[in-house]
Assembly symmetry: C2
Homo-oligomer: 503 residues x 2
């Protein structure tokens, strides 16, 4: 590690930056652990003190990042020539953070923090009551603040670009529009075909099969062992909503949940989170503690989780792995063939809830949110119109209409947290996952055969070499061009969908 | 909470201090969680990054504490009149911290940190090899640094006072000498008596009884429920060495370990840690996030754990609770009466290892360490003489002689961490526990009867009212005088021992 660190970083200004950055990084480290603990083991009454601690640490981190001498160092390094790629990456990432923090007035940040705290409570109430209010009024305030934010941050073509760029550097409204235009017709066509035959079912007996948690846990652990989850550097725990968090490069944690029925949900969500975790775990360890020692963007991160969950996890060959484990733990399932498991994990059904969606309908859910967010930020629709607009769009896109707002615009937590501009990265990730799969096949041969050989080491190594090891060294658009030969290209996903669902 | 906070804290300078202190507190909060996680759930390879994060956070905390404007505020508040007890407490605690930090040169702190990091590794090796070196050379350096530290900190009578005061404010070498002089003869007498009859056995069949961990865990959880461990604000987990840690006042965590044999060890250690936890849990919540929102000293803390472990946990009445649970989980133990369980949890056997010692021999282990530390710091013995001195003293005190240094001076971790002056608080706590028991009995009647009624709520409430709720508002000597009518008085312990072991 020491040697590669020295090879990457030698400029005295950058070294000074990295040295100062250690405290900023350490605060992030602590906040990550705090977040993980909050979702897993914290005694419930600990929440109030935790809120205080967490916001104080965030304030402290913000202060260090914006301290004049730190900013000055970053500014000084920007003009330098002859920097290594890693050094440039450090300056790019910090430059973005500092610039964002400079552009956004403290007042705006504070207002947004205050509104989202209340909005989250209101969202919980609204969702429970299945009524637009009290949440809708808060959403109105959030959208107003986010529009102001877009103005302050600045943009070239569309104000929504300013918001999206935070989650996916260099991704634009225009590019997202192009992406959806490229994939939705194919998805629609495949969906129509699938709805008219029985290759992929609408529903499956195994959805209602009730399982014992200890057995599902054993299956998840065995699958993680199979795909190569390093126990000495990673953990699997239980939380209400599955997530991945990187405490450090050698301490990455994922969670799952056990609902007691429809066992594919916990299995595929574990494989999904494994994809996220592997990205962090395979970053060059010389980048630990630096601003580039983490995944580069939400979209690229999601490409990793979707690659493992969908491209590998929902493949025929992987169904055989799941099938073997299911039959091993549950003798009552002995008559379910691998082919039947494949149908089970790939059932297709237009539904109202994004997180339950299959490969053919998922991107419609995202396109809907993208359209609404885009228009809200452009001022083309009013927040008060969102509930009905959502339901109408859902009906026209997927032919199903929410019976209440909890099944509609209230279903996701994101808006209550002020996350606008995030959703497109879910589709971006899904599309990239297929692109990565195609590139990998052209390098290493059929993925199905690799999985049959259980040669997940080769898959991990390819991902490490092409994507993971760089962390945030290169901006996402550059990383993809370097490693895949081109930026996101939705045609791979269209082809993947056609081959899987139209044959 | 808001109202009591306002009642306690109203001076504008103190309020400004408390406001600034929030960041210092939040860093402590994060470091506590990091420590807990390190001993419980951290993947092993996470250790290196964790070390970096932890030390950076400590540096940051130190910097905030010593920032000129914070020091100035504390200085300014010192002179104020008409402060509430809580405000005075805040100034006392921060004044001590600031003064200590000022007196100790950074160079000394850095050297000590460096030496103890290496010393810890050396200690692990020495202990494994049962040889004095490599650890002894590091101990030599540690003692030299600690002697320098005592000089810098200053003292009135004995250099060891300066070191002890950090762990137990206002406790002195002279007082510790008096304490041991008061209790050791009684212990010796009782020990001789016990060794000559069979009321308390030397060893017991149940020491070798092997248990299933899940059953022992259930017993621990039931006991914690019985004594009133609030699950919504506290946790029990497993670690290599049992400990208690307060993340916040509403998030206190204890651990235990399951060795698979001698089940009293895990039960009594759980009860011990419960005593520590209860102290933190019952601090007035208006003190949360302030410098006085934690237990006041090591000795008073240990009095709480020892009170629950020994005075209650090793009593006849508590043996009935343990006995019932043991017989419930292990049908093969159905013939063990409560009286037999009492003998089992109170077996007396002069042994070489402090952590395995019983009530009669424990304080000899502490007296030995106290004597050695005192003489080392006074420069009256050389470090190179410690290994033999230890063995000789052990033989003369308890009649047993270590066969190797791992059973002798290498057994405790404390010296490798540079903790010199800490040990006496173990005996102080043990002595105070009996004193608290006596005061409680004079207020509420026989403890045995209270336990029989399982009225642990009354016990908790007494402790809350007299000791816990104040946190560090009053210095330990003052707290004891206020609440017990006198500072530590070893005669209660002597009486407790006589009554229990000489009847």
């Amino acid at each position: 590690m020491d040697n590669s660190f020295k090879r990457y970083f030698s400029d005295p200004t950058v070294l000074e930056i990295l040295n100062k950055y250690k405290q900023i990084w350490s605060l992030g480290y602590a906040m990550s652990l705090i977040e993980w603990d909050m979702e897993t083991y914290m005694p419930p009454e600990g929440i109030a003190e935790r809120g205080t601690a967490n916001s104080q640490l965030a304030v402290l981190q913000h202060k260090l990042l914006l301290s004049p001498d730190f900013q000055e160092l970053v500014e000084k390094a920007k003009g330098k020539e002859g920097l290594s790629d890693q050094e440039k990456g450090v300056i790019r990432v910090l430059g973005r953070e500092v610039e964002r923090a400079r552009k956004l007035p403290e007042r705006l940040i504070a207002e947004l923090r205050e509104v989202t705290t209340k909005a989250h409570e209101a969202w919980v109430i609204s969702r429970e009551k299945k009524e637009a209010e009290p949440f809708l009024s808060y959403l109105d305030k959030i959208v107003a603040l986010e529009r102001e934010m877009a103005d302050k941050l600045g943009y070239e073509e569309h104000p929504y670009d300013a918001l999206m760029d935070y989650f996916e550097e260099g991704f634009t409204t225009k590019k997202a529009d192009e992406m959806f235009t490229a994939i939705l017709p194919t998805l629609k066509k495949s969906l129509e075909k699938v709805m008219n035959d029985e290759t992929f079912p609408r529903c499956h007996y195994l959805e209602t099969f009730r399982y014992e948690i200890s057995k599902a846990e054993r299956i998840n652990r065995k699958i993680l062992e199979t795909v190569g989850f390093p126990k000495s550097r990673a953990r699997l725990d239980v939380s209400a909503h599955p997530f991945t968090i990187n405490i450090g490069l050698k301490d990455v944690r994922i969670t799952t949940r056990y609902e007691g029925f429809d066992i594919r949900r916990t299995i595929l969500s574990t494989v999904h989170e494994f994809g996220h975790a592997l990205y962090e775990l395979q970053i060059d360890e010389a980048l630990s503690g630096t601003p580039i020692g983490t995944g580069v963007s939400m979209g690229v991160h999601e490409s990793q989780s979707r690659f493992w969950e969908n491209v590998l996890g929902r493949s025929r060959a992987f169904s055989a792995i799941i099938g073997e484990l299911l039959r091993g733990e549950f003798p009552e399932l002995k008559d379910y063939s691998d082919g039947e498991i494949y149908r089970y994990v790939n059932l297709v059904r237009p539904s109202l809830i994004r997180v339950d969606a299959d490969e053919l309908t998922y991107n419609f859910h995202i396109a809907l949110r993208f359209e609404i967010e885009k228009r809200l930020i452009a001022g083309e629709v009013k927040v008060s119109d969102v509930p009905e607009l959502w339901n109408n769009m859902m009906e026209s896109m997927l032919g199903v209409r929410p019976r209440n707002f909890a099944e509609g615009f209230l279903q996701d937590i994101h808006w209550s947290q002020g996350s606008i501009g995030y959703f497109p990265s879910y589709s971006l990730g899904t599309v990239l996952a297929a692109q990565i799969g195609a590139k990998m096949e052209s390098d290493m041969g059929k993925l199905g055969e690799i999985i049959e050989r259980r040669d997940f080491g080769a898959v991990r190594e390819w991902l490490r070499e092409k994507i993971h090891r760089f962390g945030s060294t290169y901006a996402p658009r550059e990383l993809l061009k370097n490693s895949l030969g081109e930026d996101v290209n939705p045609s791979y996903f269209a082809k993947y969908i056609e081959e899987k669902y139209s044959k």
